[in-house]
């Protein structure tokens, strides 16, 4: 009768739901207090479940943070992917507009939930493997941006001599920077000015013509 059973029984759905809730609670705890300051008991208490219950859903503390981070990355990638259509435009004007849309989408993710960047930073300090994942996350965005650049070069509205990969990394660096700035001053004004400045640098550079 239920519309989207997806082949899962009621218990299985309930179980998946609890997993989700634990991930969300853990997300909040880790973001608010940091990984090390968060006890399994804190996560359980936030949900009103016994802390033993936690271990029915996740193997250990490391396991949950892994899932929280994976989940977070998935959300970011989904948000980026939603706007991802490198070959949708064919003029510089249209491209600039697209850039602005993508930037806004990203800004929204992080501004909407300020715990996100906090968690990312907190996670990077957990251990070597986690730091590596965070760096990977940053590098994962390189091909996304690179695809836009490649398309632009092919279409002829971007410079033919671009060294695509490092250029993409530079652009993503600017976005990362705006994220950090946004953590201290999340005002829309600041974000708007930053966003405009990034586009100005990105498309025209700072040299006087």
């Amino acid at each position: 009768m239920t519309a989207v059973t997806d082949g899962l029984s009621r218990v299985e759905r309930r179980k998946a739901e609890t997993r989700r809730e634990i991930i969300d609670a853990a997300f909040t705890c880790f973001a608010e207090q940091g990984y090390h300051a968060t006890g399994i008991a804190d996560i359980a208490a936030r949900l009103g479940i016994g802390h033993g219950t936690f271990y029915r859903y996740f193997a250990n503390k490391r396991d949950i943070v892994e899932h929280v981070i994976t989940d977070l990355i998935d959300r970011i990638v989904a948000a980026l992917g939603a706007e991802n259509a490198p070959d949708a435009v064919s003029t510089l004007e249209a491209y600039r507009a697209q850039t602005e849309r993508i930037g806004n989408a990203l800004a929204q993710i992080f501004t909407e939930d300020p715990r996100m960047p906090q968690l990312l930073i907190s996670a990077a300090g957990i251990d070597d493997a986690m730091r590596e994942r965070m760096l990977e996350l940053f590098e994962m965005t390189t091909p996304l941006t690179a695809a836009y650049l490649e398309h632009g070069v092919r279409e002829g509205y971007l410079r033919a001599d671009l060294d695509i990969e490092p250029t993409a990394q530079s652009i993503n660096g600017m976005i990362l920077g705006s994220l950090l700035v946004g953590m201290r001053d999340p005002s829309p004004q600041r974000q708007a000015r930053l966003s405009a400045a990034i586009r100005a640098v990105m498309y025209d550079g700072i040299s006087r013509r």
Copy 2:
């Protein structure tokens, strides 16, 4: 004879020296194993002192990491300040060359001691206050870069319509990005390409003329 030690007794000098050594040892430990994985005993052992002695020089674990980070920031600021002469040049050509020098200097700091960025990341995860300090560190570089931009605008070789502050932040974002990339692939080739790409974007943008 040295200015700083003037007026300090021999004991006081010895004490300052030990503090220095503890900070250095802690720096190494924190960078190598991370803040939480490092025990006071590890720091003391590295110096060959009793771990009780540590507490005669620093109030607690939080205290030492504070000093380690302050020390690290000082070193970075010093390195940046050494090359800091926004008004030394008056043509775009000279400015580009200066940018390259500054970039190289910065790259050297972090490449020379790869534990530095690791420590910064590790530190950002300690607690809210520490994360704030890390963000502050990033913002601290804004006026430095902004000074160059201002000078360039005044001299006429940079665009007159630059929104100085966010533009400086964007440029610093690119530098930060190159740092992260450098943590995974510290090869000089990669750094050189990135450095070149940053300058290309920065001065000319990516639009086809």
Copy 3:
């Protein structure tokens, strides 16, 4: 039709059957991993039943081990009893042969299922009450052996001056020793030599005539 199931409904028979299966599964688990290392879940998993079901048949973990041990003791006693016919023989020759048969029967019980002695040892470590039961088990064998001795004395082929009870205990001690030796080296050769040595000591002693 069978005597034991007479008067039991089908459900009751099924219930008894499940109890039997749980005891057997528990026996295997306890013997293989030891009492403390065995979880209720292990026992249930081995049977493919839910571990909640376990508690419908036994009150708790202590309860099941009690039953496992009782069951084990019953099997040992049955095996001993089967060969038990102290008054079947009337000459030393026949008695020696009978001893050998009994020894073989016992050896077979333990060699057949090497988990038995392991379980007995494991059980003895559970708590005071269990240790007591294990000691009782050993003492329970005293009258069995004593019966043979008494008969032999009465028949005249054993020494008249035997202090029956402690003598029986001594003989049983030799059997216990052979059991322990058999746990580390269960080879038939070793068992055969031990068995022969026990009989040699037992009947003739070690003194040169």
Copy 4:
């Protein structure tokens, strides 16, 4: 000034003393409540030390029981070794007397401190490795007894056709049996009768001449 400094400083002596005390306290706890029922906190509480202190002296719970057992075995071996002089006698009479002395010495060890056999049994149930050690302990006594037998055969007062090793094991089995009996009824009368019965069986066997 102190007579037996043995090259140890005062702190080192104090440390060794504390180790001793912990081993003793653990011995008592393990023997009284069993290994699993004993918490590190119990051991520490018995000594009036913090339970964290325990870990300055022993790596973990397994480590302490290892030391307790080793210590116990050492004491047993020392007691056996003290009376160990297989070639001190040359007649059956003297040998019987020696056997009685050894038996008494052994009985005294275990009667004196009834926790000893309890601990041995408890230990055997800890895990496979421990059970193995307990079996080894029993086998360790084989060569001791075997040495006496060999000497007796060589001197001519024991039967020439003894299969030394299994015979030694049989004799040790009788001793083990008397130990178990002694755990339930430690009265000297019982021990005396058992001891006499063992010697009677051992030297003369039970056959009527």
